[in-house]
């Protein structure tokens, strides 16, 4: 709709409203008009249809619903032209007396997007328009205002061909019967539309039914001769308000479409991170009010798609009334929805965007988790490889250099026992023996630092006992399981205790420490506590950080509590199958 057309239509609406009010009060001047309600409600109806019509036209330019509402508004106004007391507007006003009813029927058949669905609908609408205008034209041929109840108050009927009360009333009866038939047919079509509608469209059709029934009842009462004895004030004063139900319902649906977009967003926010596709579909279906919504994924083995309820979706052969949109460039996921949703392109866009965002998020999350899993596994492998290498080094030292040095010492020792006669040689050999002994001691400590053989030989019990005996701080072992565990778990637990004891000796100024290792279900808990001044910072020393890394590599967690004045308490939780 162009800006100019819009301005014209708005001006027309204002003019029609002013016209209705002004002519009502001028008519019969200086006699006072009837109660104000007779002019207030028709004006409200006029403004409601034109207002909603123009708003809808503006908002959904591709749809005809706004146009139909606007047309209904002007059609409602046309009979008011009879107030002008000139033959032409009077005749036009009388002829168009039931035009708004035809537009309303059109509106109902074209609900909710302003497009007629089938040829049958189009025929029904055309017949109805022709009938609603035509019956008045035919009756006008025989209706003489001066002899048929209007007297001199009415202007001339321009269409009058043959003044005849008999023909006028006969045609009236025929047209009443015809009108009932046509209306019934249209009602049947609307009911059919409602029945065949699904999901999103069903919702719209249901709201139409709630609106159409009272409006149809009101119009039916207007058509019945005698109007069931309902007083004019109720029928013409209050009754037209019923007509406002249609624009009101549409305004509500427009508002709901807007909130639906928000609902799609809210539905996503409410979802837990990385929702399952089924949960995502349910959330979107709820937000859109379309239970038929399908979220389908490509199944390469089957060469097609499968939705979250395991239904096969064939993009080439979608059922009638279904639309499909790909959610990603590769077309690995698609959204299948009712075709009526395409009348809400923005809603479709929001839904598709939301769904693809959620799926992309889930995909990225899965990717990151897979990568993290890889990194974890490789970290564990690196540590295990390191441990294995250290074990090998220690064994090499033991079987190689250490053994040779012992053999050397033995040889020196035997030489010494034979060199008693040569004091100088004895002194030299004594020095050599001392050097060899020192080398053996150093090498032993070095090998132990690389990997404690006692851990491999006797497990944690012996190794922790050895650590405690070696520790420069008095160390009590509260508990150590005698059982053996996989090498990496033993090595990690040992490393935790050894590093913790080394830290205590270096920093804690503690007089005693306590070591506890317990096996709980599925994990080994290693605790080392000291009675030092506390205040150790886990992020401080590289020792503690290395320890945390080491425990994490075994899939465990390290906790350090070191409140000032209360000692340092270190706890490692190591998973243990």
């Amino acid at each position: 709709m162009s800006r100019r057309l819009r301005n014209i239509l708005i001006a027309g609406a204002a003019a029609a409203a002013v016209f209705t009010v002004v002519t009502y009060y001028l008519n019969g001047w200086p006699q006072p008009p009837g109660p104000a309600i007779y002019v207030i409600t028709p004006t409200l109806v006029l403004l409601a249809y034109l207002g909603v019509g123009l708003a809808a036209w503006q908002r959904y330019p591709a749809e005809r619903i706004g146009l139909l509402f606007t047309m209904a508004g002007y059609a409602w106004f046309l009979p008011s032209l009879t107030q002008l007391h000139y033959p032409l507007p009077f005749t036009v006003g009388i002829v168009s007396g039931a035009l708004y009813q035809a537009v309303l029927a059109h509106l109902a058949l074209a609900w909710p997007y302003g497009r007629l669905r089938s040829r049958v609908d189009r025929v029904a609408v055309t017949v109805n328009y022709s009938f609603n205008v035509g019956n008045n034209v035919v009756q006008m041929l025989f209706w003489n205002p001066r002899t048929n109840g209007c007297g001199t108050a009415c202007p001339a009927n321009l269409l009058l061909a043959h003044s005849s009360s008999r023909l006028y009333s006969t045609t009236g009866t025929v047209f009443s019967v015809t009108g009932v038939c046509i209306t019934a047919a249209i009602a049947a079509l609307i009911a059919w539309h409602w029945r065949s509608a699904r999901g999103y469209a069903r919702q719209a059709m249901t709201s139409l039914i709630w609106v159409a029934i009272p409006i149809a009842a009101y119009i039916a009462v207007l058509g019945i001769p005698g109007n069931l004895g309902i007083p004019g004030l109720v029928l013409y004063g209050i009754g037209p308000l019923i007509l406002i139900a249609a624009p009101a319902a549409y305004a509500i649906s427009m508002f709901r479409a807007r909130t639906a977009r928000r609902a799609v967003g809210a539905a996503l926010v409410d979802l837990e991170p990385g929702p399952s596709p089924a949960r995502l579909r349910d959330a979107l279906a709820r937000a859109l009010g379309d239970p038929t919504l399908q979220l389908a994924f490509r199944i390469p083995e089957r060469g097609g798609y499968q939705d979250t309820s395991d239904q096969i979706v064939d993009p080439a052969r979608l059922p009638a009334g279904r639309m499909l949109t790909e959610l990603d460039a590769a077309g690995n996921a698609v959204l299948v929805y009712h075709e009526l949703m395409q009348h809400e392109p923005e809603l479709v866009k929001v839904t598709v965007t939301a769904a693809s965002l959620a799926l992309e998020h889930a995909r990225l999350q899965a990717e990151v988790e897979a990568q993290l899993e890889q990194v974890r596994a490789s970290r564990t492998r690196i540590v295990e490889a390191g441990d294995a290498e250290r074990r090998r080094l220690e064994r090499d030292l033991h079987d190689g250099a250490q053994q040779r040095l012992v053999t050397l010492s033995l040889a020196i020792g035997m030489a010494r026992s034979q060199a008693a006669a040569n004091p100088e040689l004895a002194v030299l050999l004594e020095t050599a023996a001392a050097e060899a002994q020192a080398a053996i001691t150093e090498l032993r400590e070095l090998a132990r630092g690389i990997h404690p053989a006692v851990l491999t030989e006797t497990g944690l019990a012996g190794a922790i006992q050895a650590l405690a005996e070696r520790s420069p701080v008095a160390t009590t072992i509260t508990a150590v399981p005698a059982s053996r565990y996989p090498a990496q778990i033993e090595a990690t637990a040992y490393f935790v205790v050894s590093e913790a004891l080394a830290n205590v000796a270096k920093h804690a100024a503690a007089s005693s420490t306590r070591v506890t290792i317990r096996e709980l279900t599925g994990r080994l808990v290693v605790q080392v506590s000291d009675d030092g001044p506390g205040g150790a910072r886990p992020e401080g020393g590289s020792g503690l950080r290395g320890l945390a890394d080491r425990v994490a590599a075994a899939g465990g967690a390290l906790r350090i509590e070191s409140p000032p004045g209360s000692g340092t308490h270190l706890e490692a939780d190591i998973p243990c199958p």
Partner: protein, 223 residues
């Protein structure tokens, strides 16, 4: 049996996987007047020889093929179980008390646990073997020292004098009062007094026999 007839030399079986060291040991012991009845390169061979030769002493490395962990130790325990009269000297490359206590069990008689490098001092080494063969216990001073020097809190050990600690260490090494007296240049009477005082301080019962005493003191030190 005539007193002039020299005692038959001690029959020893040696188990050590390093060939050079094994041959060195054989030569050392032979030179020292012991009878090396056989040598083994692994635990299985050792068990076989011990069963066949019934030696007075088995001298074995702790760590041997195939797993390079504690085969020697396990073999020694097995031999002791089969024939308790066999004296066993275990050579260790590590200062680990775990192995020691496993080896001692509840009867330390005729058991020796020495660091491998002790072979450098030929006299002391052969003396240790002879003591073990005579039913004494020989615990390496390095291992004992590790236990004695270990830091403790609120322990009666802190109340001991240096002299008493030295006596305690020698007790733990398996020495008799006589030996302690001669090593520390004290009279046997003084040693006895020290030992009595110390055992009282530590709350240990004066044990009948040196071997009981070794166990009690070592267990206390390890505690």
């Amino acid at each position: 049996m005539s007193v002039t007839q020299p005692a038959a030399p001690l029959r020893v079986v040696i188990a050590e996987d390093a060939v050079l060291l094994r041959e060195g040991l054989r030569r050392l012991l032979t030179d020292a007047g012991l009878d090396v009845a056989g040598t083994a390169g692994d635990a299985a061979q050792l068990l076989e020889l011990a069963g066949a030769l019934q030696p007075d002493v088995v001298l074995t490395d702790i760590r041997m093929p195939p797993t390079q962990t504690t085969e020697g130790l396990q073999a020694a325990l097995h031999i002791r179980h089969q024939r308790p009269a066999t004296a066993v000297v275990v050579l260790s490359q590590h200062v680990e008390t775990g192995h020691l206590f496993e080896l001692l069990g509840d009867d330390p008689r005729g058991i020796g646990y020495v660091l491998k490098e002790r072979v450098a001092d030929v006299t002391q080494f052969t003396a240790a073997i002879r003591r073990v063969a005579a039913g004494e216990s020989v615990i390496d001073p390095e291992v004992v020292s590790r236990l004695v020097r270990r830091p403790r809190r609120d322990s009666p050990l802190e109340t001991l004098t240096e002299r008493e600690l030295a006596v305690l260490a020698l007790m733990a090494e398996g020495r008799s009062n006589q030996a302690i007296a001669s090593q520390l240049y004290m009279s046997p009477k003084t040693v006895e007094t020290h030992v009595g005082n110390m055992l009282a301080k530590l709350g240990l019962q004066p044990a009948a026999g040196d071997h009981r005493r070794v166990l009690a003191v070592l267990a206390y030190l390890r505690g």
